[in-house]
Amino acid sequence: MTIRENSEERSARPDMHPTLWEISRSGARGVRPPVVSGSPAFGIPDVSMRETPPGLPELSELEAVRHFTNLSHLSRGVDTHFIPLGSCTMKYNPKVSDKVASLPGFSDLHPRTDPEGMEGLLEAMGTLSDLLRSLLGMDGVTLAPAAGAHGELTGILIARKYFEARGETSRKVILVPDSAHGTNPASASMGGMVVRSIASKPSGHIDTVALEKVLSDETAMVMITAPSTLGLFEEELSEVVRLVHKVGALVYMDGANMNAFLGVLKPGDLGFDIVHINTHKTLATPHGGGGPGSGPVGVKSHLVPFLPTPVIQKTDRGYSFANPDDPRSIGPVRSFLGSTGVLLRALSYVLLLGREGLPKVALYALLNANYLKKRLEGVLPGEGPGLCAHEFVLSAKPLSAYGVHAGDLAKGLLDAGYYAPTIHFPLIVPEALMIEPTECESKSMLDEFADDFSRIVERASSHPSELLAAPARTPVSRPDEVLAARDPVLKDTTVSGGQFRKN
């Protein structure tokens, strides 16, 4: 891209940015908390009191501000760079949503306030539930899950409880396509279920013939990512759903890729029984460098009683909490109502777009993905010949001949001023590069990216060593991950915390 690469600099010196503990100076003071008068005789026996200070850094306010400001320069976000990370939907996060979440009344609301004192929050959350119910085409929604994987676990537990309630306790098998995200099988086993992987066809689609063979009365659920992690819509989805339902099992949609459907296709209409949506992808809540997220789950009517507590219900006097002790519920999956600060952002996004804007999200996400796919198709082989959905997967396999791998291309792209695509996922594609531009990037940006990408692939064959030396313009290059894992250094030991574990 043509913006001058400015946010990072290859240091001329080998020293790292010092840690907080390295700049800590014993006795230095930062911000003072409120002063409270009174005696420090608290009546707590010595045995239960801390003996040594907790090993926190001692800094002036300015030192702390500088530390974090300068470190921020060493990270790329959507606000600074194009992040074509497939399956991550790194779209623009509206600043107005941040503002909404920080409004007094929301940000300083105690989660255990009596219901009459949180009418505004209940209305906000109730409204979001209603909107999501409609967009997902489902009958009930829980806002509790804190992320996509948490939503999956919630869905698994709902399915489990559902079958228990029906007395079908032997349904313990969850089928997961081999192209699925790792959270799918992991969530299933966390929920105490048995995971079976189902192989995809070479096209990346589910093999319905093979599927039918493994479906049985032990099958509790089939988890399907739609569009698939290859960015493809299951060509035989309705057949898959029919087959699964035929054996009495449920169909779960991993909705992490819901950006491709937003406003143009409702998972409920496709026959899914359960679906989760990642607000930190599709609904533009910021990803925060790894969270917080939020993973609301929608279910069809037969599963509504099993939703986790607390449940918000609409009454003639507005929204309120439903009875928290319904024994059919799977119980709470986290503390309190949900990540309301995230959910308020999601609500803001949906309200801003409205019925006119929401379908445009999917349409332009498809436009951008298909355009970029077209531009890159001749450069590296892609998965799936026709139209893709919101993302597409290329394989860097042809470059193996030059000793260049998907990861090397990724590093080249870092040097060119981008974040990298998702690499080595889905696992079923060798040397996978998964590219998701989202609807928020302009044609100019996509053109620049395509040009840079093509140039890098070309250099990969003409001057492979150049790419193997990438990234050359970043503060560090290819940290040694093996060393990191061999004898892990997981904390700074400049200053010890004192009073550590004794045995």
Binding site: L56, V100, P104, G120, L265, G289, R355, L366, L387, D492
Partner: protein
């Protein structure tokens, strides 16, 4: 009225041409025709920024929040001091809009901050290591119990009544799935007795879970617990309020194997319940067994020190159904927020805040006990900054009445089993409360009791 789509009509046209289709709708061809472009009439029309702000401000104004009512409630979420420098730093776009730092070369800042967070939590909890966060305190504890369970497949989790009952319910949701059961160890005078733990311990005991301080505010003495448990091959898990660890003995020092906590008190706004921060720390022996991200320090290929995500082989994207957990996105931004807060306060400021909370709680308790009909539940049990009192009125009703006087009272404990009870309330005062607010609350309580009776003592 907003869609964040940058395309001009001309660009859209050119792009469609390149793709070889004639309209945006043509891109929906792979989707089932009968379902595409569904009716969205139940979704309202899009709003502009300014009308959204109007709407959301009006909703926010219908909450009785800290800005308008002094908060005397804790019970897992606390109104602590948050330095004003925290928000402008944490909301910097580079942190706020970054993804999980998969590409270390362009994420050194984020990785270093997470590494520093891990250090701060390990030090604070007195444990060897910390992960990069899980969803919240409740799920942190649940995950820790799952680690204990996975050790040898033991299925019994002993859990003190001192643990927040709501958190215990979340643990139950999590562990029941894999066939574990929770056994409650009762509190006696606000304390878990080691003999009660030992009498419940057997070959199926995966772990015992205690709390620092307890949900009811009391401070326990866990001397001997670790030894007793370890002799049985069971683990000690302590769930701690990190704010209290400024002054209270940390889990590591009690010999805990795993220690968890809700990070909200470390500079995270109350925000109606989230997003919060699940803290998960452990002895080094559990390094490869705990869930969640870990950042490690290493060197790059030119020998420069560098940070990376490490021990990923534990995680779902590699181990899939055999992973330590399904966790993927966690609460990084909140961990940064906690770290920034602690860095700004430093150990001295942090301790002063905790001591301020304790001082205010004692003032609050004395003031409330001066109100006729209010009585203590325990006399001498040591407590941190929360305490249970017997009030002269049904507690939910009392809470509503006090709220209409402009204060968020202690948590009504009706519906909670002992030490909860119909007329009991769990009161809290943090360092943010002033003497004036405490006095005004006292008067409001007196007024309410006079006006509405209450079952006189």
């Amino acid at each position: 009225m907003a869609d964040f789509i940058p395309h001009t009509p001309l660009e859209t046209k050119e792009m469609l041409e390149t793709i070889g289709v004639s309209s945006l709708e043509d891109l929906l061809a792979p989707y089932p025709k009968e379902h595409v472009l569904p009716d969205l009439s139940d979704i309202p029309s899009g709003l502009t920024e300014s009308s959204l702000m109007r709407l959301m401000k009006s909703m926010a104004a219908r909450n009785r929040a800290g800005g308008s009512v002094p908060i005397f409630r804790g019970a897992g979420a606390y109104d602590h001091f948050i330095p004003e420098a925290v928000s402008p730093l944490v909301t910097r776009g580079e942190f706020l809009t970054a993804y999980t730092p998969y590409q270390p070369e362009v994420s050194q800042g984020l990785l270093q901050v997470i590494f520093e967070y891990q250090t701060a939590m390990a030090n604070l909890f007195g444990m060897d290591i910390s992960n990069a966060s899980v969803y919240d305190g409740a799920t942190a504890l649940a995950e820790a119990c799952l680690v204990a369970h996975r050790q040898e497949g033991r299925t019994a989790i002993l859990i003190s009544e001192g643990v927040d009952p709501d958190i215990a319910r979340v643990v139950k949701t999590y562990v029941e799935g894999v066939g574990c059961t929770l056994k409650l160890i009762p509190l006696v005078s606000g304390k878990t007795r080691i003999e009660d733990v030992m009498s419940q311990m057997d070959a199926q005991t995966a772990c015992f879970v205690g709390a620092i301080p307890t949900f009811w505010g009391t401070v326990e003495d866990f001397s001997g617990f670790a030894d007793a448990l370890h002799q049985n091959g069971s683990l000690l898990i302590l769930h701690a309020n990190p704010h209290s660890l400024a002054v209270l003995r940390p889990p590591g020092s009690w010999g805990a194997d795993l220690a968890t906590g809700e990070g909200q008190p470390l500079g995270i706004p109350l925000s109606g319940g989230g997003p919060y921060l699940g803290i998960l720390t452990a002895a080094r022996a559990f390094m490869r067994k705990i869930p969640g991200r870990l950042v490690g320090k290493t060197v790059d290929r030119e020998g420069r020190a560098a940070y990376v995500l490490t021990l990923q082989a534990r995680e779902q994207h590699i181990r899939r159904e055999k992973a330590n957990s399904n966790i993927c996105s966690n609460e990084t931004l909140l961990s940064i927020q906690a770290l920034v807060t602690l860095s700004l306060l430093g150990p001295a400021g942090f301790r002063e805040a905790a001591e301020g909370s304790m001082k205010n709680a004692r003032k609050l308790r004395a003031r409330l006990l001066s109100v006729p009909g209010v009585s203590p539940v325990w006399e001498d049990t040591p407590f941190f900054h929360e305490f249970v009192l017997e009030m002269p009125m049904e507690s939910k009703k009392l809470s509503r009445l006090i709220l209409s006087e402009g204060f968020l009272s202690g948590l009504p404990l009706s519906g909670y089993s002992s030490p909860g009870g119909e007329n009991r309330m769990l009161w809290c005062a943090t360092e943010m409360r002033t003497e004036e607010e405490i006095e005004n609350l006292g008067r409001a309580l007196e007024k309410v009791l006079v006006r509405h009776g209450g079952n006189k003592s």
